[in-house]
């Protein structure tokens, strides 16, 4: 009650402030009157917004009134119950005020123009209707008619009714959804709700057997009676009532158009698998990369589809083939491309990819050669254009009977190695495709630091590893226990052990440079050998043995961070002319030891080994006896360059020397069984073939010779002269192929394939035995 009174008081206040016209006055009083009446009738809703309620007499409202604090309108009915309807809409008061004020000013002008008495409801009604959609309309017909009139004016006016934003979308504070929250496993429990009764119309049928059936039946009877008598009765009069139809009003509502985005994905098996197995590595969603490539260079790509950038995760349809070019920006995109480039170039995987790529490329180029090496049938490239010269050559080859020859397949060489002389080569024990080559010039004035290159068969153009060494490399060997360990012996007597597994480590793992017992002269040969019983008593321990120019044969083992050695043997000079130890002054000046140039362990009994010396003597020694030689073989009168046991035939070994000869020995005989000499040059290297017992290869400076004892004892089967002025220095047989590797003084390691060797089946061991037996009696 007090609220309404307050309202009225306000109205009076406003009246005072504003110069009121007569019409207004009337209206105001009218308002009052109406208001009073409405109060009584109370069919009317006043919107609770204060401005609107005041707007009942809105003509007189002014801004000041609007700014009054909000009053709540309460509707009280006859019984003084508060039937104030709750608003359907709670608008932002500030916004509402601003906009409402505008409205009202307009309205006022409209109202004054129309010059009509207004009812309280009229002005607010359009408002209320528009806001609330539909509101209860008072049943007062007078108000109705007035309303209709006002409506017309309003519709004619076409007022820009700016309602404050109906919060159709409430600005609820969005809870910030974090990643963690998304990842949380939430349990959703689904349970049955209680039954909600939406409509319950109890039936009006009553069973005949019910308790109060009697009473009901009685009543029904009475009612039927009444109905029948109704016609003539004065008590009941027919009367019609018409329900008034509410005036319908059309209303348009406009909302912001909802943005629709088409999204599609192709579900693939692996997509599901990926999401299942690694949910934290979700691919970026296939949504568009906005605007990246909106402006490719003009004319570069005419076809623009609506294609979005697809991540690797989803597939692009073939239809969008051309449009994907849209994604590609011109080279002008500087920064991102730069950083990308850096990142990519330094990534591990890129490096690996490059490796694979290089090998594939080389595989393409070298395919025939590698196939020949691996003894696979060489396929002709069908699209390869045959040069005319080659055709003739092939014809010739087909015609002539095959004779043993070597064909050069390829040569390992690169810029690093060019110009250096190959001093030693060794196959990796575990991976037969890896070859270690040591380069070093010795005897020449320019002491270039040595180089060790690890070549892979798959890449003949660039070594897998290139290690710079302290001084010229004289020997190397791979370990069998640790296949990635490579021992390198150098000209200054140092022995370094490198680990070639990882590409980064260029420094040696172990070095003997700090060892006090180290060799002071070039280490001519190194060998890793497994001893049955090593010094420490463990079985199958591998030890490194070396023979050096200072006349010592040493066994090396790891001591602390370096190597330490134990002398296995000292090569004392055994020339009878000289006195033994402790002699004249001349003796003490000269070293009592003679340089050892080569050695080899017996293939089966690794405690026995042979040493070749500078004097030309070959000593047989035993690991357990480090004072005396077991045996001595004399024949050479020049330094023995290489000694090698036959891998297939026991007790047979070969030796070659600078006296231009190669000698074949049997262990028990003190005289060589056979002597071979073909060229007048020092034989640098000699090797048995791993496959045939009667075949061995030798290099002297000018040529490569392959001997087959079965074929001829006087001449090599195959002779391959060196190219140009290059000197051949080392030789190595390939283990699983009929190939021979020859190193020369220019840094090339040429791979020759033995063609048509004309060796019989089997390893020919018996043949060799036979030859030796037939030759042996001659020597004894």
């Amino acid at each position: 009650m007090s609220e309404v009174a307050k309202e009225e008081r306000k109205k009076r206040r406003t009246l005072v402030l504003r110069p009121s016209s007569r019409t207004i006055n009337i209206s105001v009083s009218g308002i009052h009157g109406v208001h009073q009446s409405t109060r009584d009738t109370n069919g009317f809703i006043c919107p609770s917004r204060k401005s609107f309620s005041l707007g009942g007499g809105s003509k007189v409202l002014e801004k000041s009134a609007l700014q009054t604090p909000r009053q709540v309108v309460r509707v009280i009915d006859e019984e003084d119950n508060d039937v104030t309807p709750q608003p359907l809409y709670q608008a932002d008061p500030a916004a509402a005020q601003a906009k409402a004020s505008r409205f009202f000013l307009d309205e006022i002008s409209a109202g004054s123009a129309s010059d009509q008495t207004t009812a309280t409801g009229s002005f607010s009604r359009p408002f209320s209707r528009s806001i609330f959609g539909s509101s209860r309309i008072s049943s007062q017909s007078t108000i109705e008619s007035l309303n209709e009139e006002i409506e017309d004016t309003f519709s004619k006016r076409d007022l820009p009714i700016n309602f404050p934003d109906v919060p159709g979308k409430r600005d609820t504070v969005k809870e910030h959804v974090t990643e963690d929250m998304l990842r949380e496993v939430t349990d959703v429990y689904i349970s049955e709700t209680d039954s909600m009764s939406l409509l319950d119309i109890p039936s009006t049928f009553v069973s005949v057997d019910a308790d109060d059936a009697e009473a009901i039946m009685e009543r029904n009877h009475q009612y039927a009676e009444l109905c029948r008598n109704r016609m003539a009765d004065d008590k009941y009069v027919d009367r019609s009532v018409q329900t008034l139809n509410g005036a319908a009003k059309n209303k348009h509502v406009q909302s912001d158009s909802i943005l629709m985005v088409d999204s599609a994905t192709t579900v693939t098996t692996w997509d599901m698998y990926d999401t299942l197995t690694c949910p934290e590595q979700w691919e970026e969603p296939g949504s568009q990369v906005p605007g990246r490539s909106e402006g490719p260079e003009a004319g570069l790509d005419p076809s623009r589809g609506a294609e979005r950038s697809v991540s690797v995760g989803s597939t692009a349809s073939s239809a969008s083939a051309a449009s994907s070019l849209k994604e590609v920006e011109a080279f002008g995109s500087a920064l991102t491309a730069e950083s990308d480039q850096q990142r990519i170039m330094q990534s591990d995987r890129f490096h690996h990819c490059l490796l694979v790529m290089e090998r594939s490329l080389l595989g393409n180029t070298f395919q025939p050669k590698l196939a020949a090496y691996r003894q696979l049938p060489v396929t002709q490239d069908p699209d390869c254009v045959m040069k005319p010269g080659m055709v003739e050559q092939r014809e010739q080859e087909a015609q002539s009977p095959p004779s043993p020859a070597v064909e050069c397949l390829w040569a390992f060489s690169c810029e690093l190695s060019r110009g250096r002389s190959v001093s030693s080569m060794a196959w990796n024990k575990k991976n037969p495709d890896l070859l270690a080559v040591g380069y070093g010039e010795f005897g020449s004035s320019n002491q270039k630091p040595g180089l060790v290159c690890c070549w892979s068969l798959k890449n003949p153009t660039w070594p897998e590893r290139a290690i710079q060494c302290g001084s010229a490399v004289t020997s190397l060997d791979f370990s069998s226990n640790n296949p990635s360990q490579l021992a390198v012996g150098m000209q200054d007597g140092c022995i370094d052990i490198y680990n070639v597994k990882s590409p980064e480590s260029k420094a040696c793992v172990l070095s003997s440079s700090d060892c006090p017992n180290r060799h002071l002269d070039p280490v001519w040969q190194l060998r890793w050998t497994q001893q049955e019983l090593s010094l420490t008593g463990e079985e199958e321990v591998e030890s490194l043995f070396s023979v050096a120019a200072d006349g010592r044969i040493s066994e090396w083992f790891i001591c602390g961070s370096g190597l330490d050695c134990i002398d296995l043997m000292e090569l004392k000079k055994t020339q009878p002319a000289k006195k033994k130890a402790g002699g004249t002054k001349t003796e003490s000046v000269l070293s009592a030891l003679t340089p050892g140039l080569c050695f080899d362990f017996h293939p089966t009994d690794s405690s026995v080994y042979l040493v070749g010396t500078w004097e030309g003597l070959i000593h047989k020694c035993c690991c357990s006896n480090n004072q005396q030689f077991v045996d001595t073989y004399r024949k050479h009168f020049c330094p023995v360059n290489c000694i090698i046991w036959s891998p297939l035939s026991p007790d047979v070994f070969l030796s070659c020397s600078s006296d231009w000869t190669i000698q074949l020995w049997k262990q028990d005989l003190h005289r060589p069984v056979l002597t071979f000499s073909s060229a007048q040059a020092a034989v640098c290297d000699i090797k048995w073939s791993p496959k045939w017992a009667t075949v061995f290869g030798a290099v002297n400076e000018g040529q490569l010779e392959i001997w087959d004892l079965n074929f001829s004892l006087l001449e090599p089967v195959i002779v391959q002269p060196a190219a140009g002025t290059v000197k051949m220095t080392t030789l190595l047989f390939a283990l699983q192929a009929d190939c021979v590797l020859v190193g020369d003084s220019d840094g090339h390691v040429a791979v020759y394939q033995l063609q048509n060797p004309q060796v019989g089946e089997g390893s020919q061991v018996d043949l060799l035995e036979a030859i030796i037996r037939s030759a042996a009696p001659r020597q004894l």
Partner: protein
């Protein structure tokens, strides 16, 4: 891995580019933008775009058959030359070689 030097990678790339029979080399980043190439602009972009799609299709095929599998190398032999593609999540390495030379 920090151990791989930029210089070494650069060297290897140069070796590949200078290899006998290699017509061109293209390195494409994850978005399909060529970041290094020895061919001309339009050809590069064409190759990059086309091969990116082909690689994605190839990878999809391989993984569709067995999701634990993945594509590591793709070689396309045509009449005139051979195109080798080394795909990866972050990049694409394309080399065009004429093996008959």
């Amino acid at each position: 891995m920090a151990g791989i030097e930029y210089g070494e990678v650069e060297e290897t790339l140069k070796r590949i580019e200078a290899h006998k029979g290699v017509i061109g080399t293209i390195v494409v980043n994850a978005e399909g933008i060529p970041i290094r190439t020895t061919l001309d602009n339009s050809t590069t972009i064409q190759y990059a775009g086309l091969f990116r799609q082909l690689t994605m299709m190839a990878r999809s095929t391989v993984r569709e058959i067995d999701p634990q599998n993945d594509l590591i190398f793709l070689r396309l032999r045509s009449k005139k030359h051979e195109i080798l593609v080394a795909p990866d999540n972050d990049f694409l390495l394309i080399v065009i070689q004429n093996p008959c030379e």
